[in-house]
Amino acid sequence: MKQKYNIEVDCANCANLMEEAAGKVKGVKEVSVNFMALRMTVEFEEGYDPAAVMKEVRKACRKAEPDCDIEL
């Protein structure tokens, strides 16, 4: 399943860091951060609850780049 989320981030490199961090979260199959459109597209693994996974994703992103946010 694929879902899109609006994100808040200030610089392009920070967006790359977010992408990297989010990709390591369990349950995330693939993730792509589009800095220009401020969007994060997440594909989830089978059998994971997107809401729960996204909470982890946000946590991971915040750790990698404190000045970012994901609208859940």
């Binding site: 610089c11 951060v33 800095f35 459109a37 969007r39 597209t41």
Partner: protein, 623 residues
Amino acid sequence: MKKKQKIMLIRILAAAVLLIAWNVIPLTGLLRLLCFAAVYLIIGYDILYKAGRGILRGKVFDENFLMAVATLGAFALAIYEKSGDYNEAIAVMLFYQIGELFQSLAVQKSRKNITELMDLRPDYANVESDGTLIRMDPEEIEVGTEIVVQPGEKIPIDGIVTEGTSALNTSALTGESMPRQIAPGMEAVSGCINMTGLLKIRTTKPFEESAVSKILELVQDSGSRKSQSERFISRFAKVYTPVVCIAALALAVLPPVIRLLGGMGPEWSVWIYRALTFLVISCPCALVISIPLSFFAGIGGAGREGILVKGSNYLEQLAKLKTVVFDKTGTLTKGVFEVSNIHHSTIPDEQLIEYAALAECASSHPVGLSLLRAYGKEPDRNRVTDIREISGKGILANVDGKEIAAGNGKLMDELGIEWKDCHSTGTIIHLAIDGDYAGHIVVSDMEKPDSAQAVRELKELGIRKTVMLTGDVGKVAEKVAEDLSIDEVYSGLLPADKVEKVEELLGNGTLAFVGDGINDAPVLMRSDIGIAMGAMGSDAAIEAADVVLMDDSPMKLVKAVKISRKCIRIVYQNIIFALVIKFLCLLFGAFGVANMWYAIFADVGVMVLAVLNAIRALKVHAL
């Protein structure tokens, strides 16, 4: 400007004014240090805060940390050397912040620019209720509702016109300025602007599935598929910063140690200063921003021209295009039969067409329809009686008391009428009036007027091979290929054969398949770049293709290639420009030629120029 940006601007101005003031007012000693430190905090407190937070989280190599180390280091050196010159540290921070502010403004501006260009989203839909129009949220409109679109308004949802005629401005969707006529029974595509008359439209899709929503979705998503250049830069950025930092550390420590061993004075402060200069140049953000920005601008510019590119990777591939495979019907030809010739007629051509049209007036066959179109008037059915269709051969009918036979050679043979063969390719309709041969009409699928030009210009752009695939018979296909000077042609193909052919052709450079999106989804998916043409309103095509040309002209493909080339050129310019300048600065910094001032100027300057260059990708109209 957002609040955050305004605050930053105020901080920058305040710091700049104070910095000048402290240099004019002669301050000395501790007071001088405190005054300068205050300015430093004004301009850099957030960087210091973030750097501190980064250290606590064990993240050492982020740009905040680097800027903090570089500027604090410069400060410390000035104190240690008792030079009292604190300008450098503050200036570095100041320029860094100016650069960041500029970058965020530029990004915001181009975001806004592009969303405005793609200003398609309708805000409301009018629904009539008790004789008055009520504005409703398009998302709340159910399928089958009748909506009213007044002149000057945008069509909010796809549907069928039930009442009214008008001209539609499709430029937001197709980039085409010619208005499109619309009448009851015709499909109205959302995103078009109704220009002249009031239209009533019965919606056939919910808002989310209407063309306009799909297109907006697609444009917003386009950046998610990253190009090789973007991947390269983000990989590069990951390596670049640590390498520069390690180099800085080595620069601070190694030369003094070697000098000590060699019995010379270590000159610690000189080498530490040079190392700090390194750190100033180590932030990769300038480099990282200009690449996605270029692609974003390129995709935005293309969108404005009616070319939807689904991702920057496709833009990149489009620029490298080597082979173009065209579908024939509907792509290079109009896909609509038209009367192209009339031969051997014994009566005036118009009359021949009139008889043929009247005989075919009840027909729904494409050939019959083409005759009716050529006739141009509503046929008077009262003049026609006794229509008999002879399957696979043609039609017999009585028109104005005359016995008309319209059909192929077999029909003429059956009636024992001598007929003349035709050298033209296409479908031939022979006509006989009261048993006498009256000539024949050639009906064929016409080439689009700009197909030949498009093929020629593609060649000029360096496309190596053009191929045409068609389900049509050989004779017709070869004629079209010859007219358009297509290199290779394969005819008589079933949809599955087309996939096979494309697979055979793959592997010799980037291959694009161009089709009208009907029946060719598998081929669109299989080719390197699937390009759907004339897809206004066709969901299947929008879904399956990588690039969607919103109108029917094959010249749009030429334009798409030109846009992609310009965009890629800008991307490469930016990558090379930024890398060369950064590298030179590192080199000059190491040898002490460039001081911190040069370093920060170079860093911010490169970024500003790269961003301005990137925005150029938006201007593609004149290509």
